[in-house]
């Protein structure tokens, strides 16, 4: 038991912090927001080819560095600090998390290898138009007929879907003789697939909405997948989202601390007013708790991957916990950041609102806190039979 970074992890963190703050500062972000991709593709090349972050946490068998979730969380945290809009979260944090739950197979491994190298990016299609969490929300179905495999349905809220090369789709498996779910890969250019970019409240990251009309160009990555397998992949993805939220909430706390240390009103630095100080203290409590939760959950993911049977329940708990705390916490911290900035906090030109909108977007992503709390209530045994007194 040593719940602090190793020297290697500290080094990864330092490198990421330095790179991100130099190359993805606020000005770069504003520039990226004007582009079609919402991020700088050449920088993404650097990130994948030179820094190797896409492959960092993927198995060596698919060309990754074989490190774990803790290392991925470190990178995502640093990207969250900058509200980076590039595809690391979508392609590695989300899509690969599902792929890694599927049994190893040639097609799956080939795709993972492309993602690890950065040659391609994937986006995860797993929810319908209401943007809800859970298996019931899956809106795409896999059929098989004389023409072969066929996908129909709608997936929405597909993160980074507007720029992905491949969609990893969780589909209901309705083929004769099959049951449960299938995980399939579909190329962006597949016939019958319509990809609409959807501008969102969070301007740092648009969504895509996908319409599948008899899409035939389908690569089956895993068939007859158990619902729990999908859920576990999503749980790992929740930890990734939370890591990004952690970075962002820490950044907006830092931004606010620095603002109130300079802004003068009534002849005093406003950071000297208790109303301001104490709220910042409460924000810090939330951030520190988030940090504990994220890295603990990341460790649980690594434990789970080493021994899935023993640690499945713990993964479910940690994933729900971390998503609840970081979603509610980031929203709270970013909301307070606006308040403490006063008027400038809700202007378009200032970054506080960007954090707030990112908080809201990630609040709902893979399930809002209310949903996960209810999930925790079940895990706590509130519905179990009363013990005999």
């Amino acid at each position: 038991m040593q719940f602090s970074f190793t020297d290697d992890q500290n080094m990864i963190r330092d490198t990421a912090r330095e790179f991100m703050s130099e190359r993805c500062g606020s000005q770069q972000l504003r520039h990226d927001l004007e582009s079609a991709e919402n991020f700088d593709p050449s920088l993404w090349q650097t990130i994948t080819r030179e820094l190797g972050w896409a492959g960092l946490s993927l198995p060596e068998a698919v060309g990754g560095s074989g490190l774990g979730m803790v290392e991925l969380a470190i990178i995502l945290e640093e990207q969250g600090r900058c509200l980076y809009g590039g595809p690391l979260l979508a392609s590695i944090g989300l899509a690969s998390a599902i792929l890694l739950e599927c049994p190893a197979a040639e097609a799956r491994d080939a795709l993972l290898a492309r993602l690890a190298s950065g040659e391609a990016t994937a986006a995860l299609a797993i929810t319908g138009d209401r943007g809800l969490a859970g298996l019931d929300a899956i809106g795409v179905t896999l059929y098989e007929d004389e023409g072969g495999l066929r996908l129909d349905g709608v997936a929405s809220f597909v993160l980074n879907g507007h720029v992905a090369d491949v969609f990893v789709v969780a589909a209901k498996d309705q083929r004769a003789g099959h049951s449960g779910y299938a995980v399939v890969a579909v190329d962006t250019t597949a016939g019958g697939l319509r990809v609409e970019k959807k501008l969102a409240m969070d301007t740092t990251r648009p969504y895509a909405r996908l319409t599948f009309e008899s899409v035939r160009d389908v690569v089956l990555l895993a068939a007859d997948v158990d619902g729990r397998t999908i859920e576990r992949g999503v749980q790992v993805a929740q930890v990734a989202v939370a890591a990004e939220q952690l970075g962002a909430m820490q950044a907006v706390l830092d931004l606010t601390t620095s603002y109130v240390s300079q802004r003068v009103q009534f002849g005093r630095v406003i950071g000297s007013f208790q109303a301001i100080k104490h709220r910042l203290a409460d924000m810090m409590v939330i951030c520190e708790a988030a940090r504990s939760a994220v890295y603990y959950a990341a460790c649980v993911v690594d434990e789970y991957r080493a021994d899935p049977v023993t640690h499945a329940q713990e993964l479910a708990e940690a994933a729900a916990l971390v998503k609840v705390h970081c979603s509610a916490g980031f929203h709270d911290v970013a909301g307070n950041a606006i308040q403490l900035h006063g008027g400038i906090g809700f202007t378009w030109e200032y970054d506080a609102q960007l954090f707030f909108k990112r908080a809201r977007a990630t609040y709902n992503l893979l399930g809002a806190p209310m949903v996960h709390r209810e999930h925790i209530a079940r895990l706590m045994g509130l519905d179990d039979d009363k013990e005999v007194a």
Partner: protein, 396 residues
């Protein structure tokens, strides 16, 4: 203590309700229910002229200035019916609710004659020159300056400085400007309250785009802007009292109109929840009930304020009012967004255009900031109502 209206007052209610309904279902149906402050401004300015011509614009004012000498109860009734009809928020409200009452109360006859009727008739629109970049919540720290000059047009104030968070400045013909007119003064002393025409070379308006993508607020730059010497309300150097008086008018009948807007917002949230199933979620139901409770209480508190105002004494309810509604509406915004769910995150138009509920969510973040942040409001309540020690200033 009585909460009912008399039959005569109920008849008055029926009268204004039917006129308003005619307008909102007839000639102005196109601007009914608009929530944004800036959307379709041209048509709304037309509507306010019609309102003024029909003498429904400022019914509490004396008849000779375009009002109806309406009683408090009648003003309450009209405000409620106005909002109930779905008539849009008033672009002219800074004139009808702040500038007008201030001039009526603190101005002289010359000023009343010049300014009140055009406000009542919807012919001249106003904005409020209070906040400055370095005095967001600290009005007594204004740096905008004015000096008297005797030029070819007689004595005139020449104004230099910058205001910020000036809402509706882009539509305004006039601005009431709080500025320092006595060199070397600090704090409340040496401040004057000037009425300044906006359509002149020395005034530049620059919209501030905000979190919603809209731009209700503006920066206003005064660069040698001019106004007549006689357009100073109260004595030069004694404008602080006038400026504070204006703020007191903010707690007038218009609060009831604001509440009807809130009511419409809550209703829209209820409808959305009923249509997407959120209405059956026990947590949402609790929050809906809480919102409803807060809204109702706001109405009761407003009626208390208004009733007390007629007896001449404002109580604690007046000082707590802003804090109450601002905190309430921020929560309403969060409820709206939770009801809307993920679909509410998607833009509805080509550019950055949001549906009503998410728009409310974002806009309401400003409620606890403008017009005195919640922090400032808590100071006011603690110091003025509870008599706790004043905050120490760093500079005097």
């Amino acid at each position: 203590m009585k909460i009912r209206f008399t039959p005569e007052q109920e008849a008055f209610r029926a009268g204004c309700a039917s006129w308003l309904q005619q307008q909102m279902e007839g000639p102005f149906a196109d601007i009914r229910g608009i929530m944004s402050q800036t959307f379709r401004a041209d048509r709304r300015l037309e509507w306010e002229r019609v309102l003024g011509q029909a003498r429904w614009s400022v019914i509490g004012w004396p008849e000779k200035y375009g009002g109806r000498d309406a009683s408090l109860a009648e003003q309450v009734i009209f405000a409620e019916e106005y909002a109930r009809s779905g008539a849009p928020g008033r672009v002219g409200h800074l004139g009808t609710e702040l500038a007008g009452p201030t001039i009526l109360h603190f101005g002289n006859d010359l000023q009343r004659e010049r300014f009140l009727r055009p406000i009542a008739k919807g012919e001249e629109f106003w904005c409020q020159g209070y906040s400055e970049p370095n005095a967001g919540s600290d009005l007594s720290n204004v740096r905008t300056r004015a000096r008297l000059e005797h030029g070819p047009n007689g004595p005139e104030w020449v104004i230099d400085g910058q205001k910020i968070w000036t809402s509706l400045a882009q539509f305004a013909d006039w601005c009431f400007v709080v500025c320092r007119t006595e060199e070397g003064t600090k704090g409340p002393a040496g401040i004057s309250y000037l009425l300044v025409p906006m359509k002149q070379k020395g005034v530049t308006v620059k919209p501030i785009r905000q979190i919603t993508g809209d731009a209700e607020f503006n920066e206003v730059f005064f660069d040698g802007a001019r106004t007549k010497a006689e357009y100073c309300v109260g004595n030069p150097g004694e404008g602080w009292k006038v400026a504070m008086g204006t703020l007191a008018f903010e707690r007038g009948v218009s609060t009831l109109a604001q509440q009807m807007t809130f009511r419409n917002e809550l209703e829209r949230i209820v409808e959305a929840a009923k249509s997407n199933g959120a209405a059956s979620d026990p947590l949402i139901r609790q929050r809906m009930a809480e919102a409803w409770v807060g809204l109702r209480i706001m109405r009761y508190s407003a009626l208390r304020m208004l009733s007390r105002a007629t007896t001449g004494s404002l109580g604690g309810e007046a000082l707590t009012y802003k804090l109450h509604w601002a905190s309430w509406r921020k929560k309403l915004g969060e409820l709206a967004m939770d009801v809307a769910g993920a679909p509410g995150e998607l833009c509805v138009g080509e550019g950055y255009e949001l549906a009503d509920l998410p728009y409310l969510y974002l806009f309401s973040r400003a409620d606890t900031i403008y017009g005195g942040t919640n922090q400032i409001q808590r100071n006011i309540v603690a110091e003025r109502a509870l008599g706790l020690p004043k905050e120490a200033r760093g500079d005097r």
